[in-house]
Amino acid sequence: MLVDAIQLQETPLGHLLVSSRAIAQIAERSLDECYGVVGLGRGARIRRAFALRRRHGVEVRSSEQGGIELALSIVIAYGLNLAEVAATVRSRVSYEVERVTGLEVSHVEVRIDDVRRGD
């Protein structure tokens, strides 16, 4: 089932929902500040059928365990260690999304779309 929002809270007065578009926006902003990332990719095409919403390089899915899953598509500066940059990206983006939304990020898929010389 495709949903475009995820429930954060359920109160007697009503639900609190956050759209996957908003989550993607938070992830995207923290991606821009990740060292080694010089751009966003064209988007992950993996498991597109389950995509809630794709915003440039970020795809947000709800996870079966209740949290969310992110698929990031990025461009990395040429010459850097791709695995090391991917690891710091994964940790920074999931930290920021969890900090802002309170949702648990259970899985972060990182796809390096391209490498580009920054200088």
Partner: protein, 231 residues
């Protein structure tokens, strides 16, 4: 040893000096590792900045040990590439970019004057800023930029290298103190940037080797890290 030419003695001496400087930086970082770890609140408060910098500079020393002085251009390029591959964590990757810029711009021969040092630090700054879409101020990036600014401002002054380095590091320490306000995550925790402290610990150790002083004198940068945040 094949390939030994006219410059081989100079190349051996250069490599030995660079290794001595790198070792001094590593020893200083090892002494300060826990304090730097304790300052680590940005980009993720996982307390590993000091360890990542130690691992990165240790890799640098190992690469130097594996280096044979031959063709200088290849040596520098290969060394910079190897270091980038072995860098750990965000601060380690940025530090390796700073080293790459400096290594690529270092003069092939002769003493290191004001202009050459300014060019090296400007290349370090450019390399560091080149690999991020949106540079965040109040980080190691801010400090390398101010170090380059100071080197440029002093480039025509007649100063011996050790006093020039000292003046540049002092400017870096002033910039470090300002990171406390520049980055909201640091402001909230009331700390200076951990990666920037690591960079200055390295530079202070290098300056002390060059001036012949023992590298155990506590520098202002070290006092800044002496009160880790409550966790």
């Amino acid at each position: 040893m094949s390939g030994a030419g006219i410059d081989s003695n100079a190349a051996v001496a250069e490599l030995a000096l660079v290794r001595r400087l790198a070792l001094a930086a590593l020893e200083a970082l090892e002494r300060e590792r826990q304090r730097i770890d304790g300052l680590n609140v940005y980009p993720v408060p996982d307390g590993d900045t000091g360890m990542n910098l130690v691992l990165t500079v240790r890799a640098l020393v190992e690469e130097l040990d594996a280096t044979r002085p031959t063709e200088q251009a290849n040596l520098r390029r290969d060394f910079a590439r190897a270091l980038l591959m072995r860098a750990r964590g965000t601060s380690g990757v940025i530090l390796s970019q700073i080293v790459r810029g400096a290594v690529e711009a270092a003069p092939v021969s002769g003493p290191l004057g004001g202009r050459a040092l300014a060019v090296m630090l400007e290349r370090s700054r450019d390399a560091a800023y080149s690999a991020v879409a949106k540079p965040v101020e109040g980080t190691i990036l801010t400090v390398i930029r101010e170090l380059a600014d100071e080197a440029r401002a002093l480039r025509r002054k007649a100063l011996p290298l050790d006093r020039r380095l000292h003046a540049i590091v002092v400017r870096g320490e002033e910039a470090l103190e300002r990171t406390r306000e520049q980055n909201p995550a640091l402001a909230e925790a009331g700390v200076v940037d951990a990666g920037a402290v690591g960079l200055l610990v390295c530079l202070r150790a290098i300056a002390q080797v060059i001036s012949g002083a023992p590298a155990v004198v506590p520098a202002p940068a070290l006092r800044l890290v002496s009160s880790p945040p409550e966790r």
